[in-house]
Each structure stands twice: as structure tokens, then as C-alpha cells.
């Protein structure tokens, strides 16, 4: 428990305390404590199956957790069965999610994927929503694919459209699940830069990734997960250069083999 207390200063936008999550008898999260400071870019790292995605899913209330509390920018989530969607409105305004497989709406064009929440959840007039979508798609360099259906997009394009969709409603916290998984090095670089830009404008970002190089280059902080718990956190240069936990070393060795 040496480095876990080196926390960034400022009010946390995310505060998870003692979060446990189980699927039947299999406990996936075994007491997760995690705080994120506003306007930071955090990489959540660990080997496959250690619970990284479960942490994201608990934060966006897609999976119920059995113990502990989660607070997102003042919105409290309690342990127990998932609340009805109508009671999650406040949370939905606070946090956006980009899924590993994107989950773009198959029947809608890129633009319509981005405007859906603006028009139907926030009641923004369509013309305004479309202007916002054009702006986002342009910023993410996919404006040329605005009319394309998801099945017509490449993996990288789909990911950027999915990011635009999550950003459309302007949530202060954005979670990305394995955004580097399907990107070549050039694309990875681009992604890293745009995420850094987003964080510099006050938005808080957390990505799960296996990619040590990516984390080293862009993240301001890494959080290492092993076996359903957070085992090490800190600045990437420290954590990824002088790992203090066996799980971090295993992660680094895996990265070397690649």
C-alpha cells in the first residue's frame, strides 16, 4: 500500500470505495477503491480477465455491484440490483462510454448515431444536433463517413464514431474500453493525441488497455488491476519503470514479448 496513496489533488470526479461485483459465485471485483481527479487521463491496466471492463460497467450502471459505493460527480450509486433507467438520468449525463466492440447502432448512419441521444434524450433540435455531430466527426477526422452505416466503417472509423457518440452529450467523464486493441501504431498515436486534447479541456478520461507503450506515452496516471483489486497506481514513468507488484511485472513482460 505504498503508492496507492499518491493521489492527484483536487476534487475527485469518480470515487469508488470497496466495490465488489460477482457473477453468481464468481467474484469479479473484490473491493475496488479508485478516485479520479478532474481533467486527468488515466490508463486502467492489467492482464485479460482481471476485472478492468467490470470496473467500467459498474461505473456506468450496466452491471450491479454487491458491496461498496460509487460516486460520479456527485451522483451516488448504491450496491444492490440496478435501479430503473428512469432513476439513472443524472448518472447518464455525467459519464459516457465507448465500448470495445463499439456497439454502434446498426440501423443508423454515423451522423444519426451521434445525434440520437442529443435529440431523444436531451431534446436538442435536430438541426442543432446535426451541427454538433458534424463538428465532432470533423474533430475526430471521420466527417467523410458521416452518411455511412456502421457495417461500412473500418474498425478505426467505427471507434471514432463511437467516441463522437459518447461525447455528443458532453459528459464530464468518458470511459473507453480497450480503444487501442484494433489500431495500428499510427492510429494509436492519433488516438492518444486526441484523448490528451480532450483531457486538457477539463474532461476526465479513463481507458482500459494492455498497451504499455500507449500508457507510457499518453496517460498521466496508470492504475494496475489484478484479480479484482487495484494493486498499484501512480505516474506511468514510475509504475511502468519500477513495478512494485508482480502483476505489473507480468504485464510488462507480456508487452516485451510482443
Amino acid at each position: 500500500m505504498t503508492r496507492t496513496h499518491i493521489e492527484p489533488d483536487g476534487a475527485a470526479i469518480l470515487d469508488m470505495r470497496g466495490v465488489r461485483l460477482a457473477f453468481g459465485v464468481r467474484e469479479v471485483l473484490r473491493g475496488v477503491d479508485l478516485q479520479l481527479a478532474r481533467g486527468t487521463f488515466t490508463a486502467l491496466m492489467g492482464l485479460s480477465g482481471v476485472g478492468k471492463t467490470s470496473i467500467l460497467r459498474a461505473i456506468v450502471a450496466l452491471d450491479p455491484f454487491t458491496a461498496g459505493t460509487i460516486e460520479v460527480d456527485g451522483v451516488q450509486l448504491q450496491a444492490g440490483p440496478l435501479p430503473r433507467e428512469s432513476r439513472l438520468r443524472a448518472l447518464r449525463r455525467k459519464v459516457g462510454m465507448v465500448f470495445q466492440l463499439h456497439h454502434l447502432f446498426e440501423h443508423l448512419s454515423a451522423t444519426d448515431n451521434v445525434t440520437l441521444a442529443l435529440v431523444h434524450a436531451l431534446g436538442v433540435p435536430r438541426a442543432q444536433a446535426e451541427a454538433r455531430a458534424a463538428e465532432l466527426l470533423d474533430a475526430l477526422q471521420v466527417s467523410g463517413r458521416a452518411r455511412a452505416l456502421p457495417r461500412e466503417l473500418s474498425g478505426g472509423e467505427a471507434q471514432r464514431v463511437a467516441s463522437a457518440r459518447a461525447l455528443a452529450t458532453d459528459p464530464p467523464l468518458l470511459l473507453l474500453d480497450e480503444p487501442t486493441a484494433s489500431l495500428d501504431p499510427a492510429r494509436r498515436e492519433e488516438l492518444g493525441r486526441s484523448l490528451t486534447t480532450l483531457a486538457s479541456t477539463g474532461r476526465t478520461l479513463m481507458v482500459t488497455t494492455h498497451d504499455v507503450e500507449f500508457a507510457r506515452q499518453f496517460a498521466q496516471r496508470v492504475v494496475i488491476v489484478a484479480d479484482g483489486q487495484i494493486v498499484e497506481t501512480g505516474h506511468p514513468r514510475e509504475v511502468l519503470s519500477q513495478p512494485s507488484h508482480a502483476a505489473t511485472r507480468a504485464l510488462l513482460q507480456g508487452a516485451l514479448r510482443h
Binding site: 450496466l62 433507467e85 465500448f99 466492440l101 456497439h103 447502432f105 446498426e106 459518447a166
Partner: protein, 513 residues
């Protein structure tokens, strides 16, 4: 865009035409090839419709396997006159001619009418009974509706494919009445009493029987037309027909026929006059007078006569099919949503509905809606048909939609939720539209099937394609030309639908990159 093989539009139209022509050709070939009936042996096989009931042919209530009625006794008298044993073959009334031609039995006789069409295609015996087409109305309308001319703008019911129906359709435009065709002779009188009809025209024997069963009706004394019951034989059995005619005359002369008719309560003054005249003329029935000019003139002329009515019937088929499909889709979607999102009680009720609709015959459901509910709500036949089919198909549609809704990947729903859409909006904007694409092929399948099932509504007096073909078949004594035309119409309706569905599917189901 990858190449996907499909039938080009031009070729689909071609196929439709070729299929229709093939059907038509087969029909015409068969029309001209009557099958000679077997007519020898120690038994005389005769066909009649037990549903006709007393006094024609009915099952003896005490011995249901034994038939009784005046037709039964006259058939018995003919058989014994020929030195044979009568053997009864049950057949539905409107297929007596076809069954005789097929050789199912030698002679058909249960209220078989002497008509020009029948005389052209079949062999008829001399008449053994003279009846009158009579007008029955509600007792309260006794003075208001005395003749058909008084029924301007009103609905008049009768049994389909009968002389009475021909009479009504011939007068329909002149007297501005709407003929309504029934499949049986009981429901017209019930509908008359309940107000769905304002009059019924049928044979005096049937009218008299129905007035005993349904109170509150009266029959006007003035006959609208005179007709005769005859025996009907297959073409080519002239020798046997002549023998039968001789037996019938002998039995009239010795009073056997009078005794039989008296026993069944249908001997009257008209009958006495008719028999006397027939015997005097030596068996030449008054109706042997030259027939009205036949409406023959070859296949093309027949087609020209059938087509307008079939077109009109096709419109009814299309209206009922589209209307009930729209209802089925809307209701089916509600049921599917209720079964996925509803509470336990809602789900149980909906499962009950689906199982009831799928587990009982749609014909029964139509009857219940039209006749069973008549005490509470008197739906017009068209609307009862549309609603009945719609309610039935809603059960099938709901199962399709439920399956499709459950097949939408979970990730799509989760993505929609994290965006802050309410459950209702997730369903309306994401889950529903995606499920619809999955449901489209089975839905098209159901629509084609509904198009054909719409023929069932003819039991509720709606004249749609199949019913119209049936009417022509009964009038002409042959199913083949009307049947082929009818089949061609259904194909013309269903093939474009299948084509449209294929196009939509291709558009939505293009392979992912």
C-alpha cells in the same frame, strides 16, 4: 456492393404469367374431358347432402347412420324400380355435379335444381318436385317489403350458388338490392331476424322450415320464380337416365311420389297441378321449353364474363388481407412488447391470448366473432372478417416480434442505455427498428399466407376471390376454369409481395465489411 443472385424484375413477371397460363391451360383441357360415371351393378349409388336436413336428406336422430327425407325415399323408389339397392353417398351440396362426373355415385339428388347451366353440362332426370322461390321478411315488415322492388338499397340473403342467388344477382342492378351469399340456409334467417338482412329469398320448403325454427318471420305468398328439383347424372349415361325417367313417371302415376311427399309435408296444390301436367305431357316437363339463350361462346367469352367479377373480388381479398395484416402487426407488436416488458399478470394474459388464438381454428374464431358476438355487437361481415383474421394473425406476429426483439444484441441496448435513453425510447429507436429487420422475412411469409387464408371469410358471406370462383364453378358446373383464374389471381398478388420482400431483405442484410 457484392453481386447477389436474384430473379430480375422482368423475369418474375414472366414467371407469373407463365404459371397462370399453365394453370389456365390445364383447366381448359380438363373442362372438356368429362369422366364417364360407372352406372351398373346391383346397387344404385346416389349422392346427397346430409346437411341439407329434413325434409330433403337428414340423419335419423335415433339411428344417425340411417338417412331419411323425401329425397331419400324417392331415391329408394328409383333404385327398386331399377331392380337395385339404393346406397347413399354423402357429399356437400355444391359439389354434387363434380362428384357425379368423377364417378363417386351414379345420381345426385338432394334438392338439385334444374338450371340452364346444369342442363348444358350434365344429364338431368325429369323433375320430381316443383318449388317456388319465395321472399321471407321480418313480420314487422310484412306490408313494407312485399316484392324485391320494395327492397331498394337493402341487403337480401340467400344460399350461395343456387337459383335463388342467380335470381338475386340478375335483379341486383335493376332493383338496386345487395345480394348476400351464405354457405348454409340457416344463418340467412337468423341474420334477417337480427337485422343484418332485410329479406331472404329461398325455396319455399326451406322458407317454411326456417319459419318454424326462427320466430318473428313471415313469407310473402307471391312466388318470385318457379323451379324444379331433378336428379343429376354424368354426361353419357343417357340410357340409364331414360330408365330412371320411366321409373319416376310410373311412381308418379301409381301415387308413390305423392305418398312420399305427403309424408314429408311438402305435397301441395302446386305439386298436384305440376304432376298432372307432367303426366299429361308424357314426362316432358314444362321447363323443357327452349332455354334462354345460353351464355356460352367459348373460353374467351367466358373469361370476359368472369374477369370483372373476379377483379372486384380480388379487391375485396386485397382490402381484407391488408387491413387484417395492419391490425395483426400493430396488435402483435403490442403483445410482443407486453410479453417482454410486462409484469407477471400481463404476461400470463398475453400468453393465454396467443395460445388460444393459435390453438383453435381460425374458422371457429370467425364464426364466434360474426355470429357468437352478434348478441352484443353486430359487426358487418367485412369488418368481422378483417378483425377476425387480424386478431388471429396478431398471435403469430407477436411470436415473431418477440423472437426478433430478443435477438437484438445486448450491446446495442446497453449502448443506448448509457446514452441516457429511457427504456421506452430504447425500444422505439433501437430495439424495435432492428427487430423489424429480423422479423421482415417471416412477416412476408405470414402475409402471403394471410392472403390465402382470407378465403376463409367467405363463410361470413363476404364474396372474395375464392368465393367468387366457387360461385362461377357452381354456375358453370365446373371448377376448372374459375379455379385456374382464381389461382392465377392469387399468384399475381403474392409473387410481387415475395419479390418486394426479397429486395428489402437484400437492402438491409448486406454483408458486413
Amino acid at each position: 456492393m457484392p453481386q447477389v443472385s436474384r430473379i430480375p424484375r422482368g423475369r418474375a413477371a414472366w414467371l407469373t404469367a407463365a404459371l397462370a397460363l399453365a394453370l389456365l391451360g390445364t383447366g381448359i383441357w380438363f373442362v372438356e374431358t368429362p369422366h364417364a360415371a360407372a352406372g351398373t351393378g346391383v346397387v344404385l349409388r346416389w349422392g346427397g347432402d346430409p346437411e341439407g336436413g329434413a325434409p330433403f336428406v337428414e340423419a335419423d336422430p335415433d339411428h344417425p347412420s340411417v338417412m331419411r327425407g323425401f329425397d331419400v325415399e324417392i331415391a329408394g323408389a328409383i333404385a327398386s324400380g331399377l331392380g337395385r339397392q339404393a346406397e347413399f353417398v354423402p357429399v356437400s351440396w355444391d359439389s354434387i355435379d363434380q362428384s357425379v362426373r368423377r364417378g363417386d355415385f351414379t345420381i345426385g339428388m338432394s334438392g338439385v335444381e334444374d338450371t340452364p347451366a346444369r342442363r348444358r353440362r350434365m344429364l338431368e332426370t325429369i323433375p320430381y318436385y316443383e318449388f317456388a322461390e319465395v321472399l321471407t321478411v321480418r313480420a314487422a315488415d310484412r306490408d313494407r317489403f312485399r316484392t324485391l322492388a320494395d327492397l331498394r338499397g337493402r341487403r337480401v340473403g340467400t344460399l350461395g350458388a343456387t337459383m335463388a342467388y342467380t335470381l338475386l344477382t340478375n335483379r341486383a342492378s335493376a332493383d338496386d338490392i345487395t345480394p348476400v351469399s351464405y354457405d348454409d340456409d340457416v344463418h340467412p334467417y337468423q341474420d334477417l331476424l337480427s337485422g343484418r338482412l332485410d329479406a331472404v329469398v329461398l325455396d319455399n320448403i326451406i322458407a317454411a322450415r326456417s319459419m318454424r325454427q326462427v320466430p318473428g318471420l313471415i313469407t310473402q305468398p307471391q312466388p318470385l320464380e318457379i323451379g324444379h328439383y331433378v336428379g343429376v347424372l354424368a354426361p353419357g349415361s343417357d340410357a340409364l337416365r331414360d330408365q330412371i325417367d320411366a321409373v319416376l313417371l310410373a311412381r308418379m302415376r301409381d301415387g308413390t311420389v305423392q305418398r312420399i311427399l305427403t309424408r314429408w309435408g311438402v305435397w301441395d296444390q302446386r305439386q298436384a297441378r305440376f304432376e298432372a301436367g307432367l303426366l299429361e305431357a308424357g314426362g316432358r316437363a314444362p321447363s323443357d321449353a327452349p332455354l334462354s339463350p345460353s351464355a356460352g361462346g367459348g373460353v374467351l367469352a367466358t373469361l370476359a364474363r368472369y374477369l370483372p367479377a373476379l377483379l372486384e373480388a380480388a379487391v375485396v381479398t386485397v382490402l381484407i388481407s391488408c387491413g387484417s395484416m395492419a391490425l395483426a402487426v400493430a396488435l402483435g407488436a403490442l403483445i410482443a412488447a407486453g410479453r417482454i416488458y410486462g409484469g407477471r399478470a400481463v404476461r400470463s394474459v398475453l400468453i393465454g391470448y396467443v395460445e388460444l388464438m393459435r390453438g383453435t381454428p381460425v374458422l371457429l374464431q370467425l364464426f364466434v366473432i360474426y355470429y357468437g358476438f352478434a348478441a352484443f355487437i353486430r359487426l358487418p361481415a367485412f369488418w368481422a372478417s378483417l378483425i377476425g383474421l387480424g386478431l388471429n394473425y396478431a398471435a403469430y406476429e407477436s411470436e415473431i416480434y418477440r423472437g426478433a426483439l430478443e435477438a437484438v444484441p445486448r450491446g446495442q441496448l446497453e449502448a443506448a442505455r448509457t446514452l441516457g435513453l429511457s427504456e421506452a425510447k430504447v425500444l422505439r429507436l433501437v430495439r424495435g427498428p432492428q427487430a423489424f429487420r429480423l422479423a421482415l422475412p417471416p412477416m412476408t411469409n405470414d402475409f402471403v399466407s394471410l392472403l390465402k387464408d382470407s378465403s376463409l371469410v367467405s363463410v361470413l358471406t363476404v364474396v372474395e376471390l375464392t368465393k367468387q370462383a366457387q360461385i362461377f364453378a357452381a354456375n358453370s358446373g365446373s371448377w376448372l376454369l374459375p379455379g385456374a383464374l382464381c389461382g392465377a389471381f392469387y399468384l399475381m398478388l403474392s409473387l410481387p409481395l415475395a419479390h418486394l420482400a426479397r429486395r428489402l431483405e437484400l437492402r438491409w442484410k448486406a454483408p458486413s465489411v
